[in-house]
């Protein structure tokens, strides 16, 4: 009933909109647009830009790791005082790893991924005219852009950007004199992050309210595609977890600027006794990871949702265990709030707490395992169409397995003692949330590119992009596990100070060249992306023969998404290759009455009238056959 009312309201509003038509100017169409499709594109393009910046930073420090003693005059020309004599300075190296991590985790894989696909897909897949609050939605993008600009601007202050690691643990980040990056650079980092969280909250509240209130007629929660489920639960996670980081950051700002001692105690810096007393650096870590761990699920869940959808469409087969997929997403959402302590096993936290967090951490592996098996079962006996999106979705599953399994080591407190903060951790999270999430994002870009830009991307360049990136990522991150097993710590400017690690120098060089190869492959993507926006092949309305609602909307973007009435939804989104139906897909807005030959009793579980109709139809069919 309630969905019906909202639906009608949306319709009325739309007709009103036609009467007082706003003049479409360049500014309100492309810049200060309140249309969710345009905001999605703004998020995507900003996200891709940030991803390229983040990738370039990583290549810079990879060069340092591969050639620790070599001078590259070009670096000095480009970076000036940050690379005296053509070698990165140790402080700038720290800045690079810090900003690389921050950009990738927050600006690319949180805002770039959720921001793009929640904006694009939530209204289109649930059948809504726009977000619940288009204005707040627009603000969400602008806060994100401001946060991005502030974050990058830190490269232009004298002492360089923040350099305490993306986790910015105090006291290192709290004492402006502790290292160059803890001065103005850290202030900018904190300001940027507050803006970013503002953006994330405005976006998240919008996504939640849109999903809960604005679904079209017939779209009950159990008929929503897994993308919408994933984006919805991601938004819930973000809304609940991000404010805690604001609290942590605000207290840090107080410690830095107003002389409080929330995180500081008993400190002697550079021979000078500091007046701070009574605080605890561990408190910040609790606050940080209370967001930080849900954050990694905020990153991976949209990628899971996108991959589920893409794999189902391109296997021409329903996603296996739809309910199990949703329940495991819910399980991950709930559990992700009680596992944060596994980042702190060796910080001096009470060992008993460590034991508790170990148990909760390993429990969260169960829903993750269920999801993996369900993806495999979705491929089984499918009729797989290898679009680039499909390849990226398969790649996502492969990375998720490889990286997820090493999580079982790190979640075990006893094993974490020796693996904590080594390259093993770096390999783990770059596979499971870095590469997997970025592959989910790329799968989404290739899959919904026609919806966004009304043109197709070039498939062959997509294949090239996929294979080089996929192989490159494994070549980069697989050997890192073994460096970690020998205890090589992360965030080390050079490992040549210790001669027992000299045998890893070759491996480091190999990793760097693999990274450069994978980086160059991204140029194939960016060329394909830009070229296809303007000169790509024009798309048809439903290029992938998919069931979900966004493909029933017209190719030309209209404000309000559908011309006339919003389609009504009659079935779940995964009726692919249903026996008895001629085509191998049945869109969600096709009523059961039009597909009598393919209906199953299961389709009418909560619809007794429909079941009666169905039974009548089957009995007459039987009677007819007997007559024959």
């Amino acid at each position: 009933m309630s969905t019906l009312a909202v639906h009608d309201h949306g319709l009325v509003h739309h007709e009103e909109g036609h009467e007082h038509h706003h003049k479409a100017t360049f500014l309100n169409t492309y810049v200060f647009s309140q249309d969710h499709k345009m905001i999605a594109k703004q998020f995507l393009i900003t996200g891709i830009t940030m991803a390229f910046i983040g990738m370039l930073l990583s290549l810079l420090f990879r060069i340092q790791l591969a050639y620790p003693d070599k001078s590259f005059p070009l670096l000095e020309t480009l970076l000036g005082r940050f690379a005296p004599g053509g070698r990165l300075s140790p402080d700038f190296y720290m800045s690079l790893v810090t900003i690389h991590g921050t950009i990738m985790v927050f600006f690319v894989l949180t805002a770039g991924l959720s921001g793009t696909f929640a904006n694009l897909l939530i209204p289109l897949q649930i059948g809504a005219r726009d977000m619940a609050s288009p204005f707040v939605n627009m603000l969400s993008y602008w806060f994100f852009l401001i946060a991005s600009i502030i974050m990058i601007s830190a490269f232009f202050v004298e002492k360089g950007p923040a350099s305490g690691g993306w986790t910015i643990y105090p006291p290192l980040s709290a004492l402006p004199t502790a290292m160059p990056g803890s001065a103005e650079g850290m202030t900018l980092w904190l300001i940027s992050m507050v803006c970013f969280i503002g953006s994330s909250l405005m976006g998240g509240i919008n996504y939640v309210s849109t999903v809960l209130n604005m679904r079209t007629k017939g779209m009950d929660l159990w008929k929503m595609p897994l993308t919408v489920w994933a984006l919805f639960l991601t938004a819930v996670l973000g809304v609940l977890a991000f404010p805690v980081l604001v609290a942590g950051v605000v207290l840090l700002i107080f410690d830095r600027s107003f002389g409080t001692s929330f995180y500081l105690s008993d400190i002697v810096l550079n021979g000078k006794v500091m007046p701070f007393e009574g605080g605890s650096p561990i408190l910040f870590q609790h606050l940080f990871w209370f967001l930080g761990h849900p954050e990694v699920y905020i990153i991976i869940m949209p990628a899971m949702g996108i991959s589920s959808e893409v794999m189902s469409v391109n296997s021409r087969k329903p996603i296996f265990g739809y309910h199990a997929m949703v329940y495991s997403l819910i399980g991950i959402t709930v559990l992700s709030f009680i596992v944060w302590g596994h980042h702190m096993f060796v910080t001096g936290m009470n060992p008993f707490l460590g034991g508790v967090f170990m148990i909760t951490t390993l429990i969260i592996a169960v829903p993750s395992a269920v999801k993996t098996f369900n993806w495999l079962a979705t491929l089984w006996r499918g009729n797989i169409r290898f679009t680039p999106a499909m390849l990226f979705a398969i790649g996502m599953v492969s990375f998720f397995i490889s990286g997820g399994l090493t999580g079982i080591f790190l979640g075990n407190a006893a094993l974490d003692i020796n693996l904590h903060d080594t390259y093993f951790v770096v390999a783990h999270f770059h596979l499971v949330m870095g590469s997997a999430a970025i592959f989910g994002m790329l799968a989404g870009v290739y899959h919904w590119f026609p919806k966004m830009f009304r043109r197709m991307m070039d498939e062959r360049l997509g294949y090239l992009h996929f294979w080089v990136t996929f192989v490159g990522a494994y070549l980069v991150f697989f050997p890192m596990h073994f460096m970690g097993l020998e205890g090589v710590p992360r965030r080390y400017y050079a490992i040549t100070e210790f001669h027992q690690w000299d045998h890893w120098l070759n491996v480091n060089t190999f990793i760097t060249w693999s990274a450069i190869m994978a980086g160059v492959a991204q140029l194939a993507f960016i060329f394909n992306f830009i070229h296809s926006i303007f000169w790509g092949k024009k798309t048809v309305q439903n290029p992938w023969n998919a069931n979900t609602l966004e493909w029933t909307a017209p190719i030309e973007h209209v404000h309000g998404n559908w011309i006339g009435e919003i389609p009504t939804v009659y079935r779940w989104p995964y009726d692919y290759s249903k026996p008895g139906h001629e085509e191998d897909f049945i869109p969600q807005d096709v009523p059961f009455s039009q597909t009598m030959s393919s209906n199953l009793p299961h389709d009418f579980e909560d619809n007794p009238e429909g079941l009666e109709e169905f039974n009548k139809w089957t009995s007459t069919q039987k009677a007819n056959e007997e007559v024959k």
Binding site: G279, L362, T372, I384, P479, H531
Partner: protein
């Protein structure tokens, strides 16, 4: 066509940009004095190097574009002749198959070659438990890794798309879903139970005193060691007393502190239980001794500790690893500033007799200079309560 045009135009643009840059640089070099000439020559050499890489990249792009065109032309001729166009589903399916075969071989190679480069056997008693736990986890996860990856790419190859087939409609199967929820749950329960007990034995927080208690204090960018003197006890610390001479802030009013010794190397007697009291002065550091499977953060204001029993002497490990230069090392493993990467300390495990010899040679923290300073301070404090308060605060 547009494709190639764009590439050529991009190429000429880049060439133009590079040559302009080169030109301005040479102009600037001409403007400066003769002393700068070799520098200018070096920088033009650098730009030539850059140009070289850019050219290689562009040549690669052009080759790729030509390859793409050839494929397209081939595809079109096939279509014109009424044959089937290139079937990308089959090609990608085969590439998936090649990938999984090559990938599995690569993973095997990496595991055997690079895996054998990892740490020697644990040099501490608790480390043996951790290593057993590690081996169990590795075996279980490797089995899952191989099965799932092979299935993933195997399915991708076997069920690659074809016009003739329709996929099998299989929305769910409750039995199999239950099975693959319960099996991982059981396996993980086993790992959790073993892990929990291992963790408890390692941390062992009930029996906290060791045979030998050593203070280790991290600051930017070094570690300081403090051994107890003949009394076997370490004196109290008070960070407000830290000065240039009393760099740890030892409270010398505590009689236990008078004989505390300083040392450069962390020398440990073998088979004795050692308790490291871990402190940090400025920012968070982390005591990381991978050979002993030991790591604990050093947190300012929150003293931590780690208790362990070293079981293999440095000499034994040298013989075992066939490396006469082998040393156990202690690293800093929590980002603490620019020189974080070079905060190492040599750890040497020796026999009890060697340890006694060594400890007898170490110097106390209470140096003559420090004694002098403390005397002056004491005299000052006698002259007036007020000024001594001030002194303590200003320290």
């Amino acid at each position: 066509m547009g494709f190639r045009k764009l590439i050529t135009s991009k190429k000429s643009l880049l060439l133009f940009a590079a040559s302009t840059l080169l030109g301005t640089h040479q102009l600037m070099a001409q403007g400066t004095t003769a002393a700068a000439t070799p520098d200018a020559a070096g920088s033009s050499g650098m730009w030539i190097g850059v140009l070289y890489y850019v050219l290689i990249f562009l040549v690669g792009c052009v080759c790729l574009a030509i390859l793409g065109k050839i494929l397209k032309v081939y595809d079109l001729t096939l279509k014109m002749q009424g044959k089937k166009p290139i079937n990308w589903n089959t090609i990608m399916g085969i590439v998936c198959l090649i990938f999984i075969i090559a990938g599995m071989y690569g993973a095997y190679w990496s595991l055997t070659v690079q895996g054998s480069m990892s740490l020697p056997r644990s040099a501490s008693a608790h480390g043996v438990d951790i290593d057993n736990m590690f081996n169990l986890t590795t075996i279980l996860t490797l089995i899952v890794f191989v099965i799932t990856q092979v299935l993933l790419f195997g399915f991708a190859f076997v069920y690659r798309g074809s016009e003739k087939r329709k996929a099998y409609f299989l929305p769910h199967n409750n039995t199999i879903e239950k099975v693959w929820t319960i099996i991982p749950a059981i396996v993980l329960t086993i790992l959790v139970v073993f892990g929990f007990f291992t963790w408890q034995t390692v941390e062992n927080s009930t029996n906290v005193k060791g045979d030998l208690n050593i203070d280790i204090t991290g600051h930017q960018f070094a570690w300081e060691l403090r051994y107890p003197g003949p009394d076997g006890k370490l004196g109290a610390l008070n960070y407000t007393l830290t000065t240039g001479l009393n760099k740890l802030g030892i409270d010398f009013k505590d009689p236990n502190s008078l004989d505390d010794l300083q040392a450069d190397t962390l020398v440990l007697p073998v088979n004795k239980s050692i308790r490291l009291n871990i402190h940090a002065q400025d920012v968070i550091h982390s005591v990381f001794m991978p050979h002993f499977r030991l790591q604990q953060n050093a947190v300012p204001g929150l003293p931590t500790f780690f208790k362990f029993i070293p079981t293999i002497t440095t000499d034994q490990m040298r013989a075992e690893t066939n490396n006469p230069k082998f040393e156990y090392l202690l690293y800093c493993n929590k980002i603490c500033g620019g020189i974080h990467y070079n905060m190492q300390k040599v750890v040497r495990v020796v026999s009890q007799a060697e340890y006694q010899d060594w400890i007898a040679k170490q110097k106390p923290y209470l140096t003559d200079q420090l004694k002098q300073q403390l005397k002056v301070a004491a005299a000052k404090s006698a002259s007036g309560q007020l000024s001594s308060n001030k002194l303590a605060l200003n320290n």
